[in-house]
């Protein structure tokens, strides 16, 4: 379980997080959605002990990330936004180092490495040097590495950024599979469809503050079911309808060119913050 109360973080004069309050239950897949610079990565860095917070409290399974950081770090695995693998070492060596950092004994470590490489479908790459892996395989290896010490909480910071659509979907399937094994997943993303597809609950983050927390369905239902986009000279106007017939009637009654689509989380984000996520 993740618990955050009145969390603040200030970098010199910039307030990166403002009174963030949040509780993520065991086994939940929780997504933090927001544009670049909203404070998503800062939150993950604080929760994983990489950054100190300015005030408030944050704990993982009851262990405070500030006062009991060694214990709290044992509870979680982290897949950061940027690739942080040892490029000159092999897949097996990278995983072995992680296992040693988490005090796993040799027998347990080697067994778990084999299991996880099988899990992420990389058994045939065990001795491959990381520098020879593709971007997608590196991401899968980072996920395997974060799971090696069997954490109950997994932090994924923009896990599919920079990957093509096909590989992204493979990673999504892997994330779902991890959640089905009971792991709590805390995900940050600025991909709307990623949050919609994966998350049990979503928090919208804007300028370091949480705007709203709810299920993706509830957030989208507030807007309606169908959206009509009309391109204006220098802007895009969007109208929302609960009924498809209503939307089609509107198109028929106007001469303009419209695009009809289903409402998504971006619409909810736009309506609450006045800006787009991506």
């Amino acid at each position: 379980m993740i618990r955050i109360e009145n969390l603040n973080k200030t970098y010199k004069t910039v307030q990166a997080l403002k009174d963030v309050n949040l509780e993520v239950k065991q086994g939940e897949l929780f997504a933090f959605l927001g544009p670049n610079g909203a404070g998503k990565t800062t939150t993950i860095r604080i929760l994983t002990g990489l950054t100190r917070y300015s005030s408030g409290t944050a704990s993982l399974n009851g262990f405070d990330v500030g006062n009991r950081s060694v214990e709290s770090r044992r509870q979680c695995g982290l897949v950061p936004q940027s690739i942080n693998l040892d490029r000159e070492l092999s897949v097996f060596e990278n995983l072995t180092i992680h296992g040693k950092l988490f005090r796993m004994d040799r027998q347990e470590r080697n067994k778990r490495i084999d299991e996880l490489l099988d899990y992420v479908e990389m058994s045939d790459r065990k001795e491959t040097l990381v520098k020879n892996l593709s971007g997608g395989l590196k991401r899968r290896l980072m996920i395997a590495r974060a799971l090696l010490h069997s954490p109950s909480i997994l932090f994924l910071d923009e896990p599919t950024v920079g990957l093509d659509a096909a590989i992204r979907r493979k990673i999504w399937a892997l994330i779902r599979k991890i959640q089905q094994h009971g792991t709590t997943i805390f995900l940050t993303t600025h991909y709307i469809e990623e949050a919609e597809f994966l998350a049990d609950r979503v928090a919208f983050l804007d300028k370091g503050a949480i705007v709203v927390v709810d299920t993706p369905e509830a957030l989208m239902n507030q807007m309606g079911v169908w959206a009509l986009d009309r391109l204006k000279e220098d802007d895009m106007e969007t109208l929302y309808f609960n009924d498809r017939k209503e939307a089609n009637d509107h198109i028929a009654a106007h001469k303009d060119s419209f695009t009809l689509r289903r409402v998504n989380l971006e619409d909810a984000f736009l309506s609450l913050t006045g800006k787009k996520v991506s």
Binding site: Y11, T48, G49, L50, T51, R52, V70, E71, R73, R74, C76, L78, P80, S82, I83, N84, L85, D86, R87, E88, L89, E93, T96, I97, H98, K100, L101, F102, R103
Partner: protein
């Protein structure tokens, strides 16, 4: 603490092993040039306290090599920190700051020892045989511990890889030339000798040279190296803590 330190050390040793075939030739270049230029060409007819210049020079080169190679761990840490973001992987693990510093310092010392073995082999090929007694190795352990500890602290303080090379230019290079590596300190003016006395390499070069000639090195020099080394180690632990933003 031991588990964390051994994991950090294991990582550095894996990388070192992978690069060893490239590193060994690079460790030969500088000592070889100094032995040829200073030992053969310039010091052929020079004797100092009953020893040939080559015999005088080799312990100095050993002190210098243990300093530069132990300090070189700072570049490895910087690359891992600024380019590959691997420092984050270690920070996110349940490894204490003291364990991290201990692992990196041990890795720096290992690197220094391997480079010293190369220098000893080169010296042997040039016909110089030193007394490799326990005092000799103790002085090397203390010197490499001191500079590896300094390296970890500096690696945490600098903001970029360019800053790192500035530190080498302003700290390591002057010490290499002024710390009694190439000529006796008595050749300096008295005021300069007083300043040079405060350089750790002066004590390391003196202790290593005395031991290499079969004598017992100055207890004061060994104590100075141990105390400064411990001080740098503690400062490095503080710097690692401070490296969190």
């Amino acid at each position: 603490m031991i588990y964390g330190a051994s994991a950090v050390y294991y990582r550095e040793i894996l990388i070192l092993r992978r690069r060893l075939t490239r590193l060994i030739p690079s460790w030969c270049v500088s000592p070889l040039l100094y032995l040829i230029a200073f030992g053969f060409a310039m010091g052929k007819h020079v004797t100092l306290d009953g020893h040939t210049y080559m015999e005088f020079l080799l312990p100095g080169l050993i002190a210098m090599t243990s300093m530069t190679q132990a300090f070189a761990i700072s570049s490895e840490i910087n690359i891992a920190r600024f380019y590959w973001n691997i420092f984050e992987e270690i920070q996110a693990a349940p490894v204490s700051d003291i364990s991290y510093v201990a692992g990196e310092v041990l890795a720096g010392m290992t690197r220094a020892f391997l480079a010293i073995l190369v220098v000893l082999v080169l010296g042997f090929l040039f016909g110089v045989v030193l007394s490799l007694n326990p005092w000799f190795w103790l002085a090397i352990v203390l010197n490499s511990f001191l500079f590896a500890s300094l390296a970890v602290g500096i690696a945490m303080l600098v903001k970029s890889h360019a800053d790192q090379s500035l530190m080498t230019s302003f700290v390591i290079t002057p010490m290499a030339f002024l710390g009694g590596t190439f000529f006796p300190l008595e050749n300096f003016p008295v005021w300069a000798q007083k300043i040079i006395y405060f350089l750790p390499l002066t004590h390391a070069a003196g202790a290593i040279r005395t031991a290499a000639f079969g004598n017992r090195p100055s207890f004061v020099s060994l104590m100075i190296l141990a105390i400064i080394g411990l001080l740098f180690f503690c400062v490095s632990v503080w710097c690692v803590k401070r490296a969190k933003d």
